[in-house]
């Protein structure tokens, strides 16, 4: 299995505060990986570095063998933890935008998912509820045939029914040889779909293991281990 993401000695400091400290990590293709940690642990900082939204203070980062840049962005589909689309646009205009810029965008898949959710492509994003906006963003991200999907808190702030929809959408739409990196602190909701987990605490990786190994070696679920590791 080829390496899709490789970080070496990656650090990021904001002012005097270190958000990420000497992280070294290697992720293989074809896995669903949970990036787990409490709020402020450095999950979003790591994700932003992978997507080129922040510049590292130290270390190197390769996505699909490419340094962060045009080539890495071509193969990475990113869902931020906030609304990032122009709310004045119609859904069909946003779909055209994605279709124009991403060669791997599957327009038919996007329209199909919208139809299943009864979201009208003529509707403007600003007229939609927060939950529907999040679903639209997820549809756009999962309609790409990317090699690496990075989903930052995709199920935070939505009701349990919407969580099920989001997880189903992720599972039924990603490319089988692709890797999904999901950041969350809601472990129990996503534990069943994960192949591997990365625990991150105070900007450092404290565990990088397969879910099966955790269950075998510790005799407990990922959720239980998380509560133990991050006990306040």
């Amino acid at each position: 299995m080829s390496t899709i993401l490789e970080c070496k000695n990656l650090s990021k400091a904001y002012g005097g505060k270190t958000a990420l400290s000497h992280v070294s990590l290697s992720l293989n293709g074809g896995h669903i990986i949970g990036l787990l940690g409490p709020n402020g642990s450095g999950k979003t900082t790591l994700i932003k570095l992978i997507n080129g939204l922040l510049t590292p203070s130290e270390g190197s980062l390769l996505v699909g063998g490419h340094p962060v840049g045009v080539e890495s962005k071509r193969i990475t589909s990113y869902l931020p933890d906030q609304s990032y689309l122009n709310a004045n646009l119609k859904i069909k205009e946003i779909i055209s935008y994605f279709d124009d810029f991403y060669n791997d965008f599957d327009k038919a898949r996007a329209y199909d998912m919208l139809e299943k959710l009864s979201i009208h492509p003529e509707a403007k994003l600003k007229t939609m509820s927060k939950g529907t906006k999040e679903k639209v963003q997820l549809i756009l991200v999962m309609s790409r045939r990317a090699k690496l999907y990075i989903l930052d808190e995709p199920i935070a702030g939505v009701d349990p029914a919407a969580r099920d929809y989001i997880l189903n959408t992720i599972l039924s739409n990603y490319e089988e040889d692709a890797t999904i990196l999901i950041s969350t602190h809601l472990i129990s909701d996503i534990e069943n779909i994960l192949d591997e987990v990365i625990f991150i605490k105070d900007g450092q990786i404290v565990l990088n293991s397969s879910v099966d190994k955790i269950r075998e070696e510790n005799g407990k679920s990922v959720d239980s281990l998380f509560r133990e590791v991050f006990k306040c």
Binding site: L53, L54, T55
Partner: protein, 268 residues
Amino acid sequence: MLGKLLKYEFKDLGKLFLPLNAIVLAIAVLWAATLAIGIDGSHLGFISTSLMILYVFGIMALFIITAVYLAIRFYKTMYGSQGYLTHTLPAVSSSILNSKVIAALAWLFLALLICLISILILMLGISGFPDASDFNAFQTAFGKAFGTSAFGAACLIIAVMISFCFDMSMMVFASLSIGQLFSSNRIPAAIGAGVVCYVIQQAISSAGFFILGLDMLNDLESDAGITLAATSDFNRYILLASAGVMFLFGVVYYVICFIITKKKLNLE
């Protein structure tokens, strides 16, 4: 990729700017029409006065809205929430920045052009279409004022307009880019950066023009009094120097924006 980025820049900005420019032009045409049919003193005089006030406010609004909206949109799409999409597009930083700069230049230039065209329309409304001899006389006088042909003088003025648009838009973009380097109070930091850029530019260009002015005064003194040729040369040099200085500062601001976008992006 630059073509695609430009397409969406023009499309988004055009939604506000096209109607805005069209409204100002329409007001100028209507006002010129009321002037042309000579309605002063009649019941239509009130309409003409109202149109004059509307035109003045329209021109002011055109420049203020264009400048403010360009700054807001640059900030939102580069360093605000929409920056998450902008900077994860498979496009090089220079293409992203160039699309913003070219679009801003084009819309600012259009606003200036609409202002000039509306003034010409109003002049036509007041004095009607000039006959061929008047027009030729105007052309000659216009060219002579800058010691060149009418076409050369027009090119010179257009160069000044483009340099002004480039300088102003890049100063604002550079200030916003400097502001995003701060972890908090980014807008006040951007305003502060803008003030510093403006003061530095004014100090350097004033010093430059002072030296250039002294040099030209020496030239004038060596002539037998102030001749038309000498003042024409002075006008031409001043315009050329202004265009050059503004363009150079625009380039400096562009480099600042480029370095920050490429090396110091900080979407916390």
